[in-house]
Amino acid sequence: MGFSMQPYGIQAMLKEGHRHLSGLDEAVLKNIDACKQLSAITRTSLGPNGMNKMVINHLDKLFVTSDAGTIVNELEVQHPAAKILVLAGKAQQEEIGDGVNLTISFAGELLQNAEELIRTGLHPSEIISGYTKGISKSIELLGELVEEGSENMDVRNKEQVISRMRAAVASKQFGQEEQLCSLIADACIQVCPKNPANFNVDNVRVAKLLGGGLHNSSVVRGMVLKNDAFGSIKRMEKAKVAVFVGGVDTSATETKGTVLIHSAEQLENYAKTEEAKVEELIKAVADSGAKVIVSGAAVGEMALHFCERYKLMVLKISSKFELRRFCRTTGAVALLKLSAPSPDDLGYVDSVSVEEIGGARVTVVKNEEGGNSVSTIVLRGSTDSILDDLERAVDDGVNTYKSMCRDSRIVPGAAATEIELARRLKEFSFKETGLDQYAIAKFAESFEMVPKTLAENAGLNAMEIISSLYERHASGSTKVGIDLEGGACVDISGSSGPWDLYITKFFALKYAADAACTVLRVDQIIMSKPAGGPRREQPAGMDDD
């Protein structure tokens, strides 16, 4: 039909090459279809048994991950409606740093269910109003499900931290969550400031070093720099540190200049004076008590020579961010020019040493006493992709810590919350009189996606699990979730079983519902003609069906 369309109406109005789609079939359902496909990609990665995706981006970099945030980021999604889902995922990533997959998959499920409603004859606006009611009610219900007494927690208690962090980390690195959680918790607790709400994610660093395995990983109080020290001094303990941003070298003029020499004596003395100047500067630094010099730019050979002479250790940190963190770790003030630092500008380290870890030489900067400034998790793994994935798990864990510092309320995990929400929301929907009753019921049904996917990913019979979950919930035990190991339902209250952060769930559901409603609201798509040269040839594999 479409291809026989003659230019009339809006088609005639727009420039040739525009594409214009409207109406239920063409716009709404197609949008939904695109979103469904996107969520189909991510949903198999949901939960601890989720599968990884191998994504090769346009720069030929290989990602092997089950982190939905990374997947959708690297996928280069083009469909405008699907992009809305991606944006919702990104918002979740920014806000919480975890639960991206839940956002995207849940939004996909909502849209899929909306499609059924549209086919039965509901107008999108009725669905939207139903969904809006659904989400506000769900959030209300979610608040009721919060575990009692969980709003007070000690963010410095490792056990409590781990119990809240486990679910987030386990969904990325199942089977290794115990080791990872304890590393992350250690690192986070170390740098947690007096007022936990000010916790800065940037203070937990990750150093990835190839070789070994996760069991070789460790936490360092301080920083790990991935380069060697200059000069021959490789170890210094309990030393004062001077930081120079501008490099340690003879100062040269920015403007191109030429030194004019008029006589033989001047020529003879030229090199000498320069040498003397450098020596004077380095000596001044050494006299100030500093034992370690950190340079933000090049280290001149002459300067290095005198540093060796005065037994100063020389490090170079070329990244401005790293340099800033280094200052934070040591408490040093970065000086712009090479000059004698005042005692206040000097930082302090317990030890700086060059160590060899897995074939790579790294400089480990430790600062035990200064304590709560920067900590580094040294991750070990056998391939780059494993390391990258571990890093993402650590990022999620650290972000979870940040969220729990703000709001430590928890809800039961392992799909227990979702089933309970589905059950109560369904009851609620029966009390609605309008057509949106259907939409609310579907909204409730969408929650089933979570237990279904969890079960499917674990190779269990989804329908059986869901029905037995409902049965247990109906009989009053509202904290029954799926035990993926045993393949059965289990009451997770009392046990240390997975707990999710309330705030993660809250935002994930909210963003998902918002994204779904946005997609449903669209009834027309107008695409302008893509600029540029001829369209590329359609690659083979298009005509699968």
Partner: protein, 565 residues
């Protein structure tokens, strides 16, 4: 609704290649096993070498897993993981690179039938991880510590580890000779172990037996000017000055310019330049140094000047060598000749220039700090020496690790058989699917002894049965039994001194399992088109390779077309 949908939904950018589901997992596994098949024949003392001819026409002959993997230029994303683990093994322990690739390939091969039968990969992964941690614990339990032995005893034990590694290499024929050389080198550099403190110098010609170890530094004679021949070539306890400046007549600074108003001053300027260089040379001489080395050029004037004063000099010494000399002699590299104090001068027992093959070598021996050692390798063809260098590198790494961790296990496939037996036994106590998976993991471990036999031309089935029987003895006395490569039977590897550091095995099993799990956990591959800049010929090649080997059979029904109508 499908047929009239117009236009199709384009979810992803055009040119994106996606494939999903079981067939793509099987295809990934196929690619990995294909890669491991390439290196499998190089395993063990009777392993064969590979000749790799790259597009630049360089020829490399090697039997080092990591080297082969690096040169193979693999584009398949899943198979790349195997390259990564080989590299990681290389950087972490230095040897066992073939083992790790082989094991990973075998784990995947064993997993394949399960995947095809519809087992969820996560179940496999979990069992593999459990098996891995059990295996590592078992290795730790079986490992024998060499801690607390006297230095002499330790040396002979370490030499055995080195010999095991070297036996699988090209220079296996001379393994005792090289093993003791390697051990001496590693012991010489002491605790402050920095790999680049062991230099390996290659001199074509002569035979392997002519290779020798210098407990200090040796490097090839650098370019020299006239006057060099008059310099003395041997010193006892000389003072050594290390420089990072040019001793040549040249302008002081680029940005200096001389403007003269009075032509009579011209001569004074010329004199001044000469004065500067003479001043520098004079300072070198007055420092008392008898050997002057510089990273930069030492010109003819300086060479002559030093020759007149019975001083040896060498310019353009490579940075690496200079650092080694500094570490060995206790000197510090100077960027200025002003104020040279005694403290920064190095010294050594004997310095001499010696003829090695048709090259002349500067050799510093008997260094006080003794943190360096140099191995001078001799041999026939270039490729041969190259491979010998790689083999020595492996052996050096092995000895370093063994020294650090001080535990060894029986080689020759003995430890693999023992773990395999242990896991099989453990599997019987498990109810449920994972019994099968752990069993298959145990079976995969047997690939090491099996491949050793295959490569040596023995009947693998026969030898393996004998081994299994030995290891199954309830008394546990059969635990150290492995393949006897000389007779084609089985023998007590421990008694035969076929030893490996435990850390090599631990890391190999760990890395192989991680890689196998990673490949198994992937259920979808999405390949984005390259960005404009990266596009070109490579794109076409990568695309083909992306679905490459073995995967071709599944292409039709494999990829779930994302851009469906």
């Amino acid at each position: 609704m499908a047929a009239m949908m117009q236009p199709q939904i384009i979810l992803l950018k055009e040119g994106t290649d996606t494939s999903q589901g079981k067939p793509q997992l099987v295809s990934n596994i196929n690619a990995c096993t294909a890669v491991s098949d390439v290196v499998r024949t190089t395993l063990g003392p009777r392993g064969m070498d590979k000749l790799i001819h790259d597009d630049k026409g360089n020829v490399t002959i090697s039997n080092d897993g990591a080297t082969i993997m690096k040169l193979l230029d693999i584009v398949h994303p899943a198979a790349k993981i195997l390259v990564d683990i080989a590299k990681s093994q290389d950087s972490e322990v230095g040897d066992g690179t073939t083992t790790v690739v082989l094991l990973a390939g075998e784990f995947l091969r064993e997993a394949k039938p399960f995947i095809e039968d519809g087992v969820h990969p996560q179940n496999l992964i979990r069992s593999y991880r459990t098996a891995c941690s059990l295996a590592i614990e078992k290795i730790k339990e079986l490992a024998i510590s060499i801690e607390g032995k006297s230095l002499e005893e330790k040396k002979s034990l370490l030499a055995k580890c080195a010999a095991t590694t070297l036996s699988s290499k090209l220079i296996g024929g001379e393994k005792e000779f090289f093993a003791s050389m390697v051990v001496n080198a590693v012991v010489a550099i002491g605790n402050e172990d920095r790999l680049n403190m062991i230099g390996i110098k290659k001199v074509p010609g002569g035979s392997m037996r002519d290779s020798f170890l210098v407990d200090g530094v040796a490097f090839k004679k650098t370019f020299s000017y006239a006057g060099f021949e008059q310099q003395p070539k041997k010193f006892v306890k000389p003072k050594i000055l290390l420089l990072n400046i040019e001793l040549e007549l040249k302008s002081e600074k680029e940005n200096a310019e001389i403007r003269l108003s009075d032509p009579s001053q011209y001569q004074s300027i010329v004199d001044a330049e000469w004065n500067i260089i003479y001043d520098k040379l004079d300072k070198c001489v007055t420092s008392g140094a008898k050997v002057v080395l510089s990273r930069l050029a030492i010109g003819d004037l300086a060479t002559q000047y030093f020759a007149d004063r019975d001083i040896f000099c060498a310019g353009r010494v490579t940075e690496e060598d200079l650092q080694r000399v500094a570490a060995a002699t206790g000197g510090t590299v100077q960027t200025s000749v002003n104020n040279v104090i005694d403290e920064v001068l190095g010294t050594c027992e004997i310095f001499e220039e010696r003829q090695v093959g048709n090259e002349r070598f500067n050799i510093f021996s008997g260094c006080p700090l003794g943190q360096t050692a140099t191995i001078v390798l001799r041999g026939g063809a270039d490729q041969f020496i190259e491979e010998a260098e790689r083999s020595l590198h492996d052996a050096i790494m092995i000895v370093r690790r063994a020294l650090k961790n001080s535990t060894v296990v029986a080689g020759g496939g003995a430890i693999d058989m023992e773990i395999s037996r242990y896991l099989r036994q453990h599997a019987r106590t498990i109810a449920g699917k994972s019994q099968l998976f752990i069993n298959s993991y145990a079976k995969a471990l047997e690939v090491i002894p099996r491949q050793l036999c295959d490569n040596a031309g023995f009947d693998a089935t026969d030898v393996l049965n004998k081994l299994r029987q030995k290891h199954a003895l309830p008394s546990g006395e059969g635990a150290p039994y492995g393949v006897d490569i000389n007779t084609g039977g089985i023998a007590d590897s421990f008694a035969n001194f076929v030893w490996e550091p435990a850390v090599v095995k631990i890391n190999a099993i760990n890395a192989a399992t991680e890689a196998a799990c990673l490949v198994l956990s992937v259920d979808e591959t999405v390949k984005n088109p390259k960005s404009e800049s990266a596009q070109g010929e490579a794109a076409a090649g990568a695309m083909m390779g992306g679905r490459g080997r073995g995967g071709a059979a599944f292409r039709g029904r494999g990829g779930r077309g994302m851009r469906r109508r």
